[in-house]
């Protein structure tokens, strides 16, 4: 719940430009048929493969409230029957990372530690291979570029969920800081520091993306009122 901001709301100096991003999936050259091969491929696959199977897949499965976090965790459970490793990989919150390299290191580290503790699990064949993919991304403008808070809430309620994902989740890779485009704008342009912090704390793993949209709008409306 947002608390009342201590600073007065000011008129933004610049509008919030709602963009959206669309992606086309490329089939990569690497695949893994065991946990050991996953560990190997995680170290050498392109950055955009790591991005695809963590950040991007959250968007592809935005309607699931629980039980889905990233493709690596899902594969370890469904194809390798390794629930411990799956839980550990699933616990990684992509929003803790402002670059893909950091996320890659965390994933590799988890699998590495698991293989040391469970060496017999490393070469057990999975039911189906893990195919590494990557996305070609095209960022597009939308018709929404509000320069008022009510206009911002209106845009928030009307843009696609891809736009919400673009500004709320992928943004930290662009900003290279633990924030998102919405919080950034609300804090810097409008002075809504606490609302910005509340938005940043929204749990994306127990919400659908539609739920995230609703929570952001509610926080801003409460700040407005």
């Amino acid at each position: 719940m947002a608390m009342a901001d201590e600073h007065p709301v000011r008129k933004p100096n610049k509008p919030f430009y709602f963009n959206t991003s669309e992606n086309l999936l490329r089939i990569g050259r690497q695949k893994a048929i065991s946990v050991f091969e996953l560990w190997q491929a995680l170290q050498t696959c392109p950055d955009d493969s790591i991005f695809q199977h963590t950040f991007r897949t959250l968007q592809d499965h935005h309607f699931i409230r629980q039980g889905f976090s990233n493709d690596f965790a899902h594969w370890c459970l469904s194809a390798c029957n390794e629930p411990v490793l799956a839980e550990q990989l699933a616990s990684v919150d992509v929003r803790e990372f402002t670059d893909v390299q950091g996320l890659r290191r965390r994933m590799v580290g988890i699998v590495d530690e698991f293989l040391q503790q469970h060496p017999q699990s490393g070469t057990k064949l999975a039911h189906e291979p893990f195919y590494f993919c990557a996305a070609s991304i095209v960022v597009l403008p939308t018709q929404f570029a509000p320069d008022t808070l009510p206009g911002f809430v209106d845009g928030l309620r009307h843009v696609s969920l891809h736009s919400i994902h673009h500004h709320f989740i992928e943004a930290r890779l662009r900003l290279h800081r633990m924030s998102n485009d919405f919080s950034n704008w609300l804090e810097q342009e409008v002075g809504l520091t606490q609302a910005a912090e509340s938005i940043e704390r929204i749990d994306i793993y127990t919400n659908t993306m539609e739920g995230v949209r609703h929570q952001i709008a509610t926080i801003v409306e409460q700040a407005l009122n």
């Binding site: 490329r26 039980g67 070609s136 736009s163």
Partner: protein, 467 residues
């Protein structure tokens, strides 16, 4: 219009029971299923109502705005934004058939939508003699894994017709898309055009006959990009490979929303009792769809929960193997009056839609599958779906989240029991399944993928020209 005599022949043939069909009481043009005397130990195919005996007229193609209520204004606007920078640039699609088959069905919807977005899209169909299509049919089977003796004569026939079509067709568009292996040799026209060339492969190349693939591969490698329907269908190639899932049209007869009264009417016509749970599999009578396994799973589940089983399919009237499978299904079904077997003509999309909507659970217990569009259709209707973990089905069903995957008759039976006795869970995975389809497997998503690919290739071309 067909004569009554022709209609009767179709009815008998479609029901796959020309010699067995008893004289049934006719109630207002509908043959009453309860009027059929059961043969001891073997189920009957339900007779078809008169309304399905002739094909309906083709429905007009939807406009982009018709999808607004389904995908939302923002998504429709997104398509227009994507198309804006491509305005005036054109696409050519080339395949081997104008009617019948999934590719033609998809192009029939895709081409008008792209053109409406002011990306003019032309669709050409290659021509060939019977000898050509015999060779390409054999190639198709070989690429799916059947063994095939690739003769010099077959290669010559393939190349000759590709050359003839190459001379006949003009390639003046900015992007040329060649669908499937039949016209793959048209790539030889590439040097005469500034276009980006894309090979769209709709078939599973995961285990091809090596000789046929090695014959085709040099052609494929000359394209700018290849597209596959699943990660597992792709090959190692030196060109970029993209993933385009097959898709369904939510406004087609097979998938459009239906009023409950219409669903009820169709169920009444087929003798399906909507007051009791309905478990349905829609598929051709084909061993790879395992309809006999579905009957066994239903029988195991029925020890614990009351339900009916509807097996709605076709292919038994024009395919000897289909007829044999239908007989096996009838024998497995025995005298159970709750097993409803429907051998439908291919134009019964509307009736299939109604039956899927009436179902409590949809099953697709395939042993081998391409992508499995019947699963997509069921998920789109929000139905809790139990399906074999084969082919493209795991792309659609995330186990326990958008449906349930099974690997055996026993597993299928258990999941039927579980879903029928846990309606909240069933409802939840049904709703997630529908969202998954909305995000990934609708025609509008397919339009978006083509626009994205076109933009990416145009940008790559521009970068190449700048260097």
């Amino acid at each position: 219009m067909k004569t009554e005599e022709q209609r009767a022949t179709i009815a008998d043939s479609a029901a796959g029971s020309r010699t067995e069909a008893p004289v049934a009481e006719n109630r207002g043009g509908i043959v009453a299923p309860d009027a059929i005397p059961a043969e001891p130990g073997r189920a009957k195919t339900r007779p078809l109502p008169a309304s399905v005996l002739t094909p309906p007229p083709p429905a007009p193609s939807p406009r982009l705005d018709d999808y607004r209520d389904i995908i939302g204004q923002a998504q429709v606007d997104g398509l227009r934004f994507l198309a804006r920078d491509l305005k005036g640039k054109s696409i050519k699609m080339v395949n081997s058939t104008a009617v019948g088959g999934g590719v033609a069905e998809m192009l029939n919807r895709l081409v008008p939508l792209l053109s409406e977005l002011e990306v003019p899209t032309h669709w050409d169909v290659i021509t060939g003699g019977n000898d050509f299509f015999e060779v390409t049919k054999a190639f198709h089977n070989a690429l799916h894994g059947s063994s095939y003796e690739l003769t010099k004569s077959a290669q010559e026939i393939f190349l000759m017709y590709n050359e003839q079509n190459r001379e006949r067709l003009q390639f003046e568009e900015e992007m040329v898309v060649i669908h499937d292996p039949q016209p793959v040799g048209l790539i030889r026209s590439r040097d005469k055009t500034p276009a980006s060339w894309v090979w769209r492969c709709h078939i599973d190349l995961s285990n091809p006959d090596a000789r046929v693939w090695e014959f085709l591969r040099p052609f494929v490698e000359q394209y700018d990009a290849a597209i596959f329907s699943s990660q597992s269908f792709a090959r190692q190639l030196p060109i970029p490979q993209y993933l385009f899932y097959p898709c369904i049209d939510p406004l087609s007869e097979k998938n459009k929303e239906l009023p409950d009264s219409v669903v009820q009417k169709v169920c009444d016509e087929f003798g399906i009792d909507r007051s009791r749970p309905i478990v349905t599999q829609v598929s051709r009578f084909d061993r790879l769809k395992d309809p006999v396994g579905v009957v066994h799973a239903y029988k195991l589940a029925k020890k614990y929960v009351d339900c009916q089983l509807v097996l709605a399919g076709g292919g038994a009237s024009d395919d000897p193997e289909g007829a044999a499978v239908l007989q096996e299904v009838k024998e497995a079904a025995g005298n159970d009056p709750d097993i409803i077997i429907l051998d439908l003509p291919p134009w019964c999309a509307f009736e299939i839609n109604a039956i899927q909507r009436a179902s409590t659970i949809v099953v697709q217990k395939s042993l081998k599958e391409g992508f499995g569009l019947t699963v997509t259709e069921a998920l789109w209707k929000g139905k809790p779906t139990v399906a074999g973990a084969v082919g493209g089905i795991p792309n659609q069903i995330i186990h326990q989240l958008t449906g349930v995957l099974v690997h055996s008759v026993e597993g299928c039976a258990f999941q039927i029991r579980y879903l029928l006795t846990h309606p909240d869970f069933a409802k939840r995975i049904g709703a997630s399944g529908r969202e998954h389809v909305k995000e990934n497997f609708l025609m509008t998503t397919n339009v978006k993928r083509w626009l994205l690919l076109f933009r990416i290739l145009e940008e790559a071309k521009a970068r190449g020209a700048a260097r």
